[in-house]
Every structure is written in structure tokens, then in C-alpha cells.
Amino acid sequence: MSQPVQLPRWMDIGLLPLWNLAVALAVAGLVVLVIGQSPAQALTVLLNGALGSTRGLGYTLYYATTFIFTGLAVAVAFHGGLFNIGGEGQATVGGIGVGLTALWLSPHLPAPLMLPVLVLAAALFGMAWAAIPAYLQAWRGSHIVITTIMFNFLASSLNVYLLVNLLRPKGSMAVESSMFADSARMPALHELAARLGFELPSSPLNLSLVLALAACVFVWWFLWKSRAGYALRAVGSAPKAAHYAGIRPRMQVLVAMGLSGALAGMVGINEISGVQGKLTLDFVAGAGFTGIAVSLMGRNHPVGIVLASLLFGVLYQGGVEVSFEIPGFSREMVVTVQGLIVLFAGAMAMVSAPLFGRLYLLFKSKEAAHG
């Protein structure tokens, strides 16, 4: 992947992402104008819908949870020098893992045992789905971008096949599995709050949020504090130096993609165990690609990813509200904004970065002249 121009740190992590976001929103605003709506009105409804009520906030955080997982997945792979575009498929297979394990074991195990088993299942299934393209890249030179795109489609085909042919309860027309026993359900946050005496409006927000934040801490520790992370970053950043240091690049590809797939697979916990309670079609709904946007905006760092996930959570929840309240708007506006963010923060990063570099140098030289 291409590395941007050397800017001072505060510009690189603070100013540039905000600038990219601003440009993307400005273009989105133009689109809103073109379709004859008011950007100001849309923005107000959006922010209100996402942050203006406790219920909305609950939804926003629930969306953010999924995005944290997929964003971390992209970030870990990026630090290993790989572009994991297969988060969508890895999340689907993670969900399949959760579904199969829950259907099999949930009638027999109590929640304190079942839930950790489900987390393990989600991680292992997601990891396995990423490991195959990783192996093909490392040992057979197959371009990982293409293979992971193919595996995305294979994952959804697999899901359809399982649901239609194996998991659908007899006589049911809906393409979904039977419900899990309660022990396989990630407790919803409003239920937990009720037990503690607090009144929270119901929302899909569940304990997975805690899991997501824990995953952030883990990824931060792994990448910058652990020996394994050191080796991974070395391979991602300087493959020749890594070879000189005796680090084996092929293993690192497996590690990077394996961890990445495991993180993406955790989406299954949030969606399948937390919200749906059964395996369904298309529960990932593009979150794998949102993860790419989140990671780009968050500069591939857990802190940035949390912030960017919140941003996208706001966009998604706010987008739903806007599509309810303002006729002529649909949820696809959010997808458009997301695409614009990836375009400016990712593809066009090389356009704005040199510009900022020059502005910075200009500013510095003026400072030197006056100082």
C-alpha cells in the first residue's frame, strides 16, 4: 500500500482526516442540494436521530460496535502490509460459526459458558476464512485482494446454502434458522441496566460493545507492545529489513490475516448473538466495507478507529432517521457519504497530503522570516 507524504504528526493524525471528512461531507452536501433537499435540515435530523435521544444513542453505539470490529480487522492487516478487503466474508463466516455453535450447544450450556464459546467460535471461523487467502498469498503468490473478493461471494453463497437447505426449520418460508436458546444471547444493555435499576429505552445495543472495546485494547497491545506485533509491523513496513532480522514474512502474512479475520468474525457476536438470536441472510450488510472507511479515517489506530466508528454509527443511525422523517431521502445517502470518505481519505490521500505539506513548509518559512 502507498505511504503518504511525511507530515508533522499532528497534521497526519488530526488535521488531514478532519479535512478529508470535511471535503467528503461538502460533496455530500452538494448532492443533497442537487436532489432538492436542504443539507442543513438533513444534518439536523441526522444528528438528532443519532445523538439526540438515549434510544438513538443506543442504536448509534450498536452500529459502532460492528464497525469497530471490521475497522480493527482492516487496521491489523494494514500494519502487516496487506489490504484485507474480505472483512465482509470473514464477518459472515464468523456469524455462521456463531449460528452453528449456538444451535448445537445453546440448549445444553448455561450462558456463562455458552457466551465465551460463541466468542471463540466467531473468532475461529472468521480466522479460518481469512487464513485460506493468506496461505494462497504467502505460499502461492495469489493476489490477496482478488482472492478475498472471491471469498466474500463464497461466504454469502455458503450462508444462503446453509440457511435454505440445512438450518431452516421445516415448514418455514423465512430464510433464517430457528431461534437460539436464551443462553446464546448476548445480553442487551438495556436489560442489564434494568437489572441494576436503571431505565434505558430498548435498543440493539448489547454487551458486544464491551467486547469491541476490549478488542481495541488487545489490538493496541498486540501491535505496539507485543513481540509478535513488532515482527508484524516490521514485515508490513520494511520487508527487506524484516528478512535481515530473521523474521519470516510468510508466517507474518498468516498471523496478520488470521487476527484480522478473527476480529471481523466477531461481528457475528454483535449481530447474530446480540441482536438477531438466529442466523439470517445478509446480517453483515456492508459492514466489512465500512470497516475500510473506518480504518482509513482512523489512521489504522484503535483510538482513531473508535472515533471513526462512532462517526459512522452516527451516520448510519442518523441516516435511518433522515430516511423516515424527510421524504425523498434514503439510507443509501449514508453509503454515498461512506464512499466519498473512502475516496478522499483513501484514494485521494495523495492529492491533499502534498498540498498540506507545502502549506506547512510555507507557514514554517514565514515563521522563520518573522521570528
Binding site: Y230, A234, A241, Y244, G246
Partner: protein, 521 residues
């Protein structure tokens, strides 16, 4: 310093094909060419010799339009010209055959010649025209190439002929060849010489950049020797000899008073036998290299860059495996099939300061304290936390601070990104890391490339101290001065072989120069 004569060797009645008048070129702090002045007679083969960094390549790049000179001018066929880019050079009849071929593997030879100068929109007709021209050209020059074969399927010698054909097709009357025999087998070299002689007979002027003196004597009509950006001498080949040229090339008085330590009787730390390495195209990079390193000595490997020194370092450090050969290090022995690996090398107390510190020796995006443990990051001393999975950052940072103090790395900031340090400080950091492991064997490649004077002195001092403490040091450097200042004995490499070995007190310009220019028979 040796005398600098700038007289031309050819009677000035004939208009020279090329005349370089006072060419100077500076790149930042480096003066690549300084007042270069000489003439090349038409229809001759003119050799341009010198060590690495002598300024030959820069000079030819200026002639071919890649760079513009800061001062001086160029005359082609008696006319003063401005050469702003390579297309203008081609228009003036100057063609260049680079060391790294500019060819498209998946296209045929014919297509490669034609690209950019296709005579027609429809290839069928274009190919007919080009083929007719090329066949005439091949007849006249005796250069033969399989026009319809794919470049990927052809041997290197034929590809070089293709490059020459490409230049001639575009009307080159002055042909520059940059180290053409570097990639050729001995037979292919002879064939090339035949071709060049035939071209000369047809009136083409040929400029041959090389450091191989035997070839110069065999082929050239006149020769110019350059050193440190200046022309040392230009003369007719009949008026000189290999020894003469070698002395001009090397040209500095050696401090003959220095004698090295006697290393016999000390234990052998590393030895290799019969190392052979071939490139993908089958060109021999190393042929039957054997050497032995003893404790408490610095062995310098001298020779013009590109003669196998880099490959030797890669093999000895375990970064690459040879096709044949044996190595014994610290009691363990290795065969070509199951060669040493970098991890194993370090475990056997071999440290390596790589030639390319930017790509290999450091991770530019890491802070200094992370670069300072590169290669040793898995050692027990750097592990902590449950299961030893966490990096012992405190210890790493403390050690880095210590290293920076001992080796005077500035700024003394272990958090600073590795890319932010100056070249000299980066090199000192890498050295500090490798020397800090108290190795039994240290491999060092180009330790002072891009390093300022003060740091050079410091680094040399560190290497001597290491030697005195009993380490075996292998020093590869294209700076002859450095080798002469540090080594106890000097090995000279040329063409992938070790052409000779001299103890330091027997080194002088002639003997070294001859060894550096010698070609294996």
C-alpha cells in the same frame, strides 16, 4: 597526487566526435564531475575507466541528456550543442546501452526496437518496414538477433545485442556502453568485442565505460582515466599499459608504514569454501570463493562495487543461500542445501551491518528504540509479561539510551523516528546495535557511505577497538582509503572471484590496482 595530463591522444586535424570542455556537476555536497576535459576521435573505441564514484556514469548521463552540467559545454562533431533530454541526444546520434536493459519481456525483439518509433498505425505494415531495415542493419553490422523471439526467452548476450540494435536503429553514430561485460559470460564478452570492432570499422564511435583494464587494453584505441570527478589522464592505448592505468586509477600513496596484527595462531571464527552463486539469468555472481576469518583481525574486501561483494555479504549473513559451497561458523557447519539463516547467524554470535541501512538495516517507520533491537528482539532479555509475549520496553529504551550515549548518536532521543536521524547517526545506531551484542564475527558493508567526516573517524575507531577486543571483522567497502586505513589484510574481488590477497604492509597502488582490474583467465 599523480600528474593530471589532459592532452588528447589523437592528432587534432580530425574533428572529434565528442569534445567535453570543462564539464562540472555537483549533486548537493558531492562534486561528481570537476572540470572534465577530453576529446573522443570519430570511428574509435574510447575507454572510460575509474573506480566507483569516479564520475564516469555521471559524465555519460550528462552526454546522454539525463542531467545538465553546471559548467562547461559539449561539442558533437565540432558543433557546440545543448542536450536537454535523452531525445535530443538521440537526435544528435548519441545512443546508450544501459547496464539494466530497457526491454519489455513479453514482446518480441522486433516490437521492442519498434516501440516509440513505429512507422505505421497498423502493425503488420510497420513490422514489415522495420524488419527490412533491421535485417539490413544486422547484415551490415554482423549483429544477429532473433527478431521474432520473445525477450523473456533470450539469453543476456542476445538482449545486449538487441539494445545495441535499438540504438543503431535510431541512428546512433556515437554509442555509449555502460559496463557491458558485467552481465556477460566470457564467450559472450568475446562476441561483444567482435561486434564492437565491426561497428568501429563502419565508422561508429564507441565509448566504453568499464573498470576492467584487460578489456580496455584488448579493445580500445584510446582511454581516459577518471578519479574523484576529475580526468587523470587521456592517452592512446599504445602509450600505456595495465600497470600504468591501474596506478592512475588508484593513484594515492599508501601509508606503507602500517603493519597489521599477526593473526596466525588465533582461532578461526568463520570460513567458507567454494562458494558459487548464479543469478536467475545464469550469470555467475560468485565463483569458487573461499576465505577464512580469524579472531582479532580486520579483513578488508576491496574491489569495484558490483563484483560480488554484496552477494558475499548476503551469503555470509544467511540472507541468501549459495548454489554450492560450505561454511563453518562458530563450530557449526553448513552446506548449500541447508544454509545458514539470519536468526541462526545471530545465535552463533555473527553480527551484520548491512550495506543498505535504509532498506535492510533499519525500519524507517519505527522509533529509534525499536530499530535498536532489530534482529535481536526475540532475545530473553527483551521479554516480559505473562508468557514472555510482551516487549520489555523499559529495558529496550534504557539500552538504546546507553547505545546512543556510547556511540554519540544525535539527537539523544530514543523516541525519534528512525528516518529522522542523519545518515551518520543512523549508521552509528546500527553499528551500536550490532557491536553491542559483543559478536564473535562482524560483517560490515560500506560502513561510512553517506556519513560525515566526524562520524567516519568515530566508526573507524569503533571497528579498531572491536578488532583489538578479539572480534573477527570482515569489512566490505568500495572506498579504498577506508580499507587501507583499517584492514590487516586485503582481499580483492573482481568478477565474482577473489583475485588476490595481500597483507597490509604489501599493499601499494600498483599491486592493488592490478588485482582490482584483473580478470580471471
Amino acid at each position: 597526487m599523480s600528474e593530471i595530463s589532459s592532452g588528447t591522444a589523437v592528432p587534432s586535424a580530425v574533428t572529434p566526435a565528442v569534445r567535453l570542455a570543462g564539464i562540472s556537476k555537483r549533486f548537493g555536497a558531492v562534486q561528481a564531475n570537476r572540470g572534465v576535459e577530453f576529446e573522443i576521435a570519430p570511428g574509435t573505441v574510447h575507454g572510460l575507466v575509474g573506480e566507483n564514484g569516479a564520475g564516469k556514469s555521471t559524465l555519460m548521463a550528462i552526454l546522454y541528456g539525463y542531467y545538465q552540467a553546471d559548467a562547461g559545454h559539449i561539442e558533437v562533431q565540432g558543433q557546440r550543442v545543448q542536450i536537454a533530454n535523452s531525445h535530443q541526444a538521440i537526435a544528435l546520434g548519441i545512443g546508450m546501452v544501459h547496464q539494466h536493459f530497457m526491454l519489455v519481456d513479453t514482446l518480441s525483439c522486433l516490437d521492442n526496437v519498434m516501440l516509440g518509433a513505429e512507422p505505421a498505425f497498423f502493425l503488420a505494415r510497420a513490422k514489415r518496414e522495420v524488419r527490412a531495415k533491421l535485417e539490413a542493419l544486422m547484415r551490415d553490422t554482423g549483429l544477429h538477433v532473433h527478431l521474432d523471439a520473445l525477450v523473456a526467452d533470450l539469453p543476456v548476450g542476445e538482449l545486449q545485442r538487441l539494445e545495441i540494435l535499438k540504438a543503431l536503429y535510431r541512428g546512433a553514430r556515437i554509442l555509449i556502453l555502460d559496463e557491458p561485460t558485467a552481465v556477460l559470460t566470457p564467450q559472450e564478452t568475446q562476441q561483444l568485442f567482435e561486434t564492437l570492432r565491426r561497428l568501429r570499422a563502419l565508422g561508429t564511435t564507441i565509448i566504453l565505460i568499464t573498470h576492467k583494464l584487460k578489456e580496455v587494453m584488448a579493445l580500445c584505441d584510446a582511454v581516459t582515466v577518471m578519479r574523484a570527478g576529475q580526468v587523470i589522464k587521456t592517452c592512446d592505448i599504445r602509450d600505456t599499459s595495465p600497470e600504468d592505468l591501474a596506478e592512475a586509477m588508484v593513484g594515492r600513496k599508501v601509508n606503507l608504514g602500517r603493519s597489521g596484527g599477526a593473526a596466525e595462531g588465533r582461532d578461526e571464527r568463520l570460513s567458507v569454501n567454494g562458494l558459487c552463486l548464479k543469478s536467475e539469468q545464469g550469470v555467475a555472481l560468485l565463483s569458487d570463493v573461499s576465505l577464512s576469518l580469524r579472531a582479532g583481525e580486520i579483513v578488508g574486501v576491496a574491489g569495484v562495487s558490483g563484483n560480488g561483494q554484496s552477494e558475499l555479504l548476503e551469503l555470509l549473513s544467511g540472507m541468501r543461500a549459495p548454489d554450492a559451497g560450505r561454511m563453518s561458523l562458530g563450530g557449526a557447519s553448513f552446506e548449500a542445501a541447508r544454509w545458514l539463516e539470519p536468526r541462526g547467524a545471530r545465535a552463533l554470535k555473527l553480527a551484520h551491518v548491512p550495506e543498505d541501512r535504509h532498506a535492510c538495516g533499519m525500519v524507517m517507520s519505527f522509533p529509534a528504540w525499536e530499530t535498536a533491537v532489530l534482529g535481536y528482539h526475540d532475545q530473553a532479555q527483551y521479554r516480559c509479561g505473562p508468557g514472555g509475549l510482551t516487549m520489555n520496553e523499559g529495558h529496550m529504551r534504557a539500552q538504546t539510551a546507553e547505545m546512543m550515549e556510547r556511540f554519540d548518536v544525535r539527537p539523544r532521543n530514543a523516541e525519534l523516528g528512525s528516518s529522522k536521524f542523519s545518515g551518520g547517526n543512523q549508521q552509528k545506531l546500527v553499528l551500536a546495535r550490532e557491536i553491542g551484542q559483543a559478536p564473535a564475527v562482524l560483517l560490515v558493508g560500506q560502513p561510512t557511505r553517506g556519513v560525515d567526516i566526524g562520524a567516519i573517524e568515530f566508526i573507524h575507531g569503533q571497528l579498531r577497538a572491536l578488532r583489538d577486543a578479539g572480534c573477527a571483522v570482515l569489512l566490505v567497502s568500495s572506498e579504498l582509503d577506508e580499507i587501507l586505513a583499517l584492514a590487516d589484510r586485503v582481499l580483492v574481488m573482481n568478477g565474482g572471484r577473489i583475485t588476490g590477497e595481500l597483507p597490509i604492509d604489501q599493499c601499494d597502488e600498483k599491486s592493488l590496482g592490478l588485482l582490482m582490474a584483473a580478470q580471471a583467465d
